[in-house]
């Protein structure tokens, strides 16, 4: 109907999405041809997830049109998008862990055909055909929970193919894969493209998938800031477009001070999560811990704060033994933990900004059983001002804040307790570019004030810009220790994934 791209498989025009006053997407055009691989790049909070949610029918755009195979779609739902051949593979794959490979692959296509009963033979046959199509050998009767991550991803791809996918959207496809597994994935993507299946990679680290892609689209703060053939981009130019900055922040270098040891971790063990982890950290040091998804970095972080109980080992802070597996005792020992998932773990969403900070200081402001409200609120307000939280009203619910400001609220709660050590898990996940740099400044300041700071992250520029030292985990073990300023991003990525 007069649109320039009648051959396009996907044609999104002028997509705008506003949430409660925040513009997540601003007039974004996004076009995918059949058999084309597109990199959709952007930092956390750039709007790339929102664009995918709009395309897959999870969210309705505020403005703009979507055509799939030339047909104008209004009121798109996930079911209708899937019926039109648009399938999303989320980072966690959304598989049923207790079902077999065959059942997982055939499940959705069986549902789509409105079958009343599950036919085991037909399901196995569907699964076998799809696995053969991409040339992968996974036992059909294995339960998915027992498969390694890379195989789970392949099962998810097969499930999409069983639904006759014309476009597969892969969210952060490489975060949990080793280099060899990434190469196999790329081989399969090439195969699919030859068959006319289009692929969209959504990621904040895309260097790995550039070689199989035709086109790159970069989003920043909800706007499309770059689009072009994949040959025109490399890791450096991608980063520049994504962040809007030319160079990454300089590393703080190796830790120079002669401060005394603050934290001592000895032979910490938790079968299935991490084994024999030992390290030390000095007062004022910013220590990075990194590794692929599933390397044990998050379990270790939780164990340091008592949320995961290790089977054996010892944690000593300032010479004092910290009881294992007891978050209340860890907090009393003045350890703080800012979790990765702000929305479910970090914040009390329905509660006010002030309460979200004050909840950490209830003990200190209780006089004969009653709270000194004035002091409690005053102190929380002070910390929010010091961390420059921008809001018209501190008694508004914390959900009214942007990601960056929410993260400051989570930080303020712990800083108000005057911690000796702060563990920050993914400190800038879901935070816009500007706030991210400011949060990195805060982290460096905390170190300068003599706190011990542990940054858990797989955002390599973040680690390089904030940490004096980086520990690399792989398969639950500490495999590498790197002094700040002695390594490039590419080298570090290689050490994580090899």
């Amino acid at each position: 109907m007069g649109s320039p791209d009648t051959d396009a498989l996907i044609e999104m025009r002028g997509i705008t999405k506003r949430y409660a006053g925040v513009t997540a997407l601003d007039e974004v055009d996004f076009v995918v041809a059949p058999g084309e691989a597109v990199c959709l790049a952007g930092e956390n909070g750039s709007g790339k997830s929102t664009l995918i949610k709009v395309l897959s029918g999870v969210e309705q755009p505020t403005e703009g049109t979507i055509r799939i195979g030339g047909e104008r779609m209004t009121g798109l739902t996930p079911r209708r998008a899937a019926a039109a051949g648009v399938l999303v593979i989320f980072q966690d794959f959304s598989l049923f862990p207790n079902l077999t490979v065959a059942e997982n692959i055939a499940f959705v296509s069986e549902l789509a055909e409105h079958r009343q009963f599950f036919n085991r033979r037909a399901a196995r046959e569907t699964a076998r055909r799809v696995l053969e199509r991409i040339g992968v050998d996974i036992p059909l009767d294995a339960r998915v929970e027992h498969l390694p991550v890379a195989h789970k991803q392949l099962v998810a791809i097969c499930r999409a193919l069983a639904c006759e996918a014309r476009l597969i959207i892969m969210d952060e496809p490489t975060t949990a894969l080793t280099e060899r597994e990434v190469r196999r994935l790329l081989g399969i993507i090439r195969l699919l493209k030859d068959e006319g299946v289009a692929v969209v990679f959504v990621s904040h680290k895309l260097a790995e998938v550039l070689e199989v892609s035709e086109k790159v689209v970069v989003l920043r703060n909800g706007r499309k800031v770059a689009e072009g053939p994949a040959e025109d981009f490399d890791a450096a130019s991608l980063t520049r477009h994504m962040t809007g900055r030319d160079v990454a922040r300089a590393s703080p270098g190796a830790f120079g001070g002669t401060a005394e040891t603050l934290l001592k971790v000895e032979a910490l063990n938790k079968p299935g999560s991490f084994s024999n982890v030992s390290f030390e950290m000095r007062r004022g040091e910013v220590l990075g811990i990194t590794g692929l998804l599933g390397s044990g970095r998050t379990s270790l972080a939780k164990a340091l704060f008592g949320l995961v109980a290790p089977d054996s080992g010892r944690i000593t802070l300032d010479g004092q033994n910290v009881p294992l597996g007891d978050p209340v005792a860890a907090a009393r020992a003045r350890i703080g933990y800012v979790p990765e998932d702000r929305l479910t773990e970090g914040l009390f969403l329905t509660q006010s900004i002030l309460r979200n900070v004050a909840v950490g200081r209830l003990d200190s402001h209780e006089r004969r059983g009653f709270l000194d409200m004035k002091a409690l609120i005053g102190e929380a307000g002070d910390w929010l001002t010091r961390l420059k939280v921008k809001t018209p009203s501190l008694s508004a619910p914390v959900t009214s804040l942007s990601g960056g400001n929410q993260q400051r609220v989570a930080l303020a709660r712990w800083l108000a307790r005057a911690p000796k050590m702060l563990i920050l898990n993914g400190p800038s996940v879901g935070v816009d570019v500007g706030s991210k740099a400011e949060i990195h400044d805060i982290i460096r300041d905390l170190g300068a004030q003599g706190l011990g700071v542990i940054v858990i992250s797989d955002d390599l520029p973040e680690l390089l810009a904030t940490c004096h030292r980086i520990l690399v985990m792989r398969g639950g073990e500490m495999v590498e220790e790197i002094e700040g300023g002695s390594i490039t991003e590419t080298e570090l990525a290689h050490k994580m994934a090899s």
């Binding site: 006053g21 509660q351 909840v359 009214s400």
Partner: protein
Amino acid sequence: MSGPRIEPKLVESPEFRLAIITVLVFVLMAALSPERFLSPQNLTSMAFQFPEFAILALAVTITMMTGGIDLSVVGVANLSAVVAATILTAFAGAGVVGAAAVMWLGIAVVAAMGVGAVAGFLNGILVSRFGLPPILATLGSGLVFTGLAVAMTGGSAVMGFPAVVAVIGNATLFYVPVPLILFALLAFGLHVLLTRTGFGLRVTMYGANPLAALFAAIDVDRVLLKVYVIAGMFSSVAGLVIMSRANSAKADYGSSYLLLAVLIAVLGGVNPYGGYGRVVGVVLAVLSMQFLSSGLNMLQVSNFARELIWGGLLLLVMVINVTNWAGLRARRAPAKSG
């Protein structure tokens, strides 16, 4: 910018809406049957009637604040009353007067509240340590408590108390019914506990997001344990009021009170998913329910129809609350962040 406040404004809260509803119900009932509804006898009898289930509603309220519920409140109330009644009949008896009677009443009250505390502690252990869903844990424990009361009494009423026992449920102090005074004290106490103590704020925060409470290093097990102990002790006070007013104790008194107590808490604006609730709302809900109940009485609506009305009202209120909250959020959010 309004000054920093930790409480939301009353005018924009569900309680404000509820106050209007309460007045409307009162006016409606007064208009339908002015000479009977507004008579001093009716007003006095209402003031004697509602405290027993109102206290149970307070017990449900505090558990609902954590996103839980206590379905064992009536079971705890009856078990406590049976224990108190057994002490009063076995050691004192109807003939005892004076200091001895007061002493035995004191012992019986302490024993009843002890039973309430232990029962609540048991609920708390089931919910916190064993992580059972509160709705199932307290449904089961409520049956156990009722069963124990049946076993102690053989299912029949325990009666024959000293006259002084009637004071709890039937006397007045400066023209104010004693049960009403008890309810007012407990309501005020709960309000202060929830809004002015660290424990109260922890209860609210836990209700808002149990996982975040754990990550904020709140001792969640202890908070839950205390919540259910308080609910148990409130229930035992309600049991004592019922015992005094009935001048007897029985394992299956007040069986319709459970639904009513839950209904009042929800009608009072307590969020059944936890994290929000104000005692003033619950008090208003109690009043409007009592006005409605008396009105239905005067219109000679049968008891069975009344249960139907309570159940329907509970569902209706929850549907209205859910719809309104979503609408409220959509309307208010842009103004806040813009």
